[in-house]
Symmetry: C2
Subunit: 329 residues, 2 copies
């Protein structure tokens, strides 16, 4: 067994991923557990003081122990770092948001310490808060940004896209995170499909319908796109009524329609801010979802300086942040 | 008891309203029943042939009888007309959509007849289908448009707004319905509030928070508005995180944000189509909701030629359509 240098936790709302990292941050071992912060293991506190905070704390401790207790017993004193919703107000301990803009190299300078036991400290990475205009927050994505940025050379602008339930687009200029946007595209897609009239005529197919997806993608750039998302989504139903869209094509059509509006809006905000028309783009996330976003970026002409898809961003980011923080001296 | 001239039914998805109309369409009597087409009375068919269509037909017959059977027994031979989802594919009998554009005076020329019993015919008003661009449909609103238009003089453009679960905006030029838009604003508001992370921090107050509503309204016209609905809605949460929006203000803020985007998009589509910047507007719907839309129209400068709020549009429309159809000769 190689030497353990860092234990890194990606601790979100619905899951907990643990990594045992060795020299240079190489992944020696990893495991996934269902213990997201909204889904902690239940602890029997009937013999305790009945205090809810204690019970909740005990849930975090139990989850932590299942994630990496054995690794720590094998390598006592190994530093431990975590990113994600574990640092939110609903998490184990709130790791206050750090204001934007922020140098990528400075993320590790403001970690929050949680004393779990004598000599055992969990270091939690802060989220980011953008106060200009409508406020915006992210938590967890800052670590992925560090993960991909540290391996890049030069000061050219990079636009980092993190599609998902809430898509984040982080603008990095001269190695500083200068701006980010949030789009609730994934969550909106889910509720439209599950809880509105649009879902009633949908059927799920076994294979993705790429033609329907691309048809949806294009809507935002047509004349009808001016009517906006609130209007355009109705076409998932009406195209079906006139026989132009089958029930199995509707889910992918709606997905494309929403992602197309997201990318069209992203492009519009960049133009208004005087940004480069086509920056170097890095996508981080699920492969299939990244492929969808890549198609959208191509269609809207944001692909001219290349689109890369990054893997292992979180574990690499946690390693780099631990280095920034001096945990690996 | 005055002479019954027409029995008029406003038969939607969740409710059925019945009107007994006398000379000149004056309302002599009215009643509301819960028998929308998705909520018909249950009929015991265990002694019948078990045919589902028969059972469903029996539900329609029972609902119809409760709505106006006594009126018809008192005034046999009175014509009966209905509008709304009762004419949809899921209704009693499908009243096929009529293609746009359509003269307001011609709505009554294509009624669908349902023979309920010997000598008893239900006449169902057709919905409208717009095939240009993304297809669009409405059903029920055509009757309200006739209701308000027939009492107006002149050929000037009128924009008729019907806010609700799905807002409809119908453009009437030279007494012809030439275009309409649909916005799923009401339904999107409901699912965002009930089924997404935005709802988790919301609290319902006893009184509407007009300041929060107006703050939301303005978002679409700010620089941040360029990021669009999918992005802007997240601010309902983030403004709360930074202490700028209380849990009780969030529902009205989100309502304003969505309605503001709807009106901004409506304005944009009108500009692109070369329409008058500020047409005469008539709003039809719930008073409180109409007041919200009036505020939005004022803010976005669409109010310069007046905004009227219409009442009794459906019953008036059904009377006028029956006249068009020659049912009241």
């Amino acid at each position: 067994m190689s030497t353990t240098r860092l234990i890194a936790l990606d601790w979100g709302t619905t899951s907990l991923r643990a990594y045992r990292l060795g020299d240079d941050g190489v992944v020696l071992d990893k495991r996934g557990l269902p213990w997201g912060i909204m889904n902690l293991p239940t602890i029997d506190t009937t013999v305790g003081d009945g205090n809810n905070n204690s019970s909740r704390d005990a849930g975090f401790v139990r989850a932590f122990d299942e994630a990496c207790g054995d690794w720590l017993r094998d390598a006592p004193g190994t530093p431990v770092i975590a990113a994600g919703m574990v640092g939110s107000a609903q998490g184990w301990r709130e790791a206050a948001y750090v204001d934007m803009p922020l140098a990528v190299a400075d993320v590790g300078k403001q970690l929050t310490r949680v004393e779990i036991a004598a000599g055992l400290v969990l270091h939690i990475v802060p989220g980011l808060l953008q106060r200009t205009g409508l406020p915006n927050v992210l938590r967890g994505e800052e670590t992925q940004v560090v993960g991909v940025l540290e391996s890049l050379e030069g000061d050219a602008e990079v636009l980092i896209g993190l599609p998902g339930t809430h898509s984040k687009w982080v603008r990095v200029q001269a190695r500083r995170m200068t701006h980010f946007d949030t789009f609730m595209t994934g969550e909106v897609y889910a509720v439209l499909s599950q809880h509105t009239i649009l879902g009633r005529t949908m059927e799920r197919g076994d294979e993705p319908d790429n033609a329907a997806f691309e048809r949806g993608l294009r809507v935002a750039q047509t004349e009808e796109g001016r009517a906006g998302v609130l209007s355009n989504i109705f076409s998932s139903r009406t195209l079906s009524l006139v026989g132009e869209l089958s029930p199995r094509s509707q889910p992918d059509y709606l997905s494309g329609l929403l992602i197309g509006h997201e990318i069209a809006a992203l492009k519009s905000t960049r133009e208004a801010a005087g940004c480069a028309p086509s920056p170097h783009i890095i996508l981080i996330g699920d492969d299939k979802l990244c492929a969808r976003y890549q198609a959208a970026l191509n269609l809207y002409g944001l692909n001219l300086n290349g689109i890369d898809i990054a893997a292992q961003a979180t574990e690499t980011g946690l390693w780099k942040i631990a280095l920034q923080a001096g945990l690996l001296s």
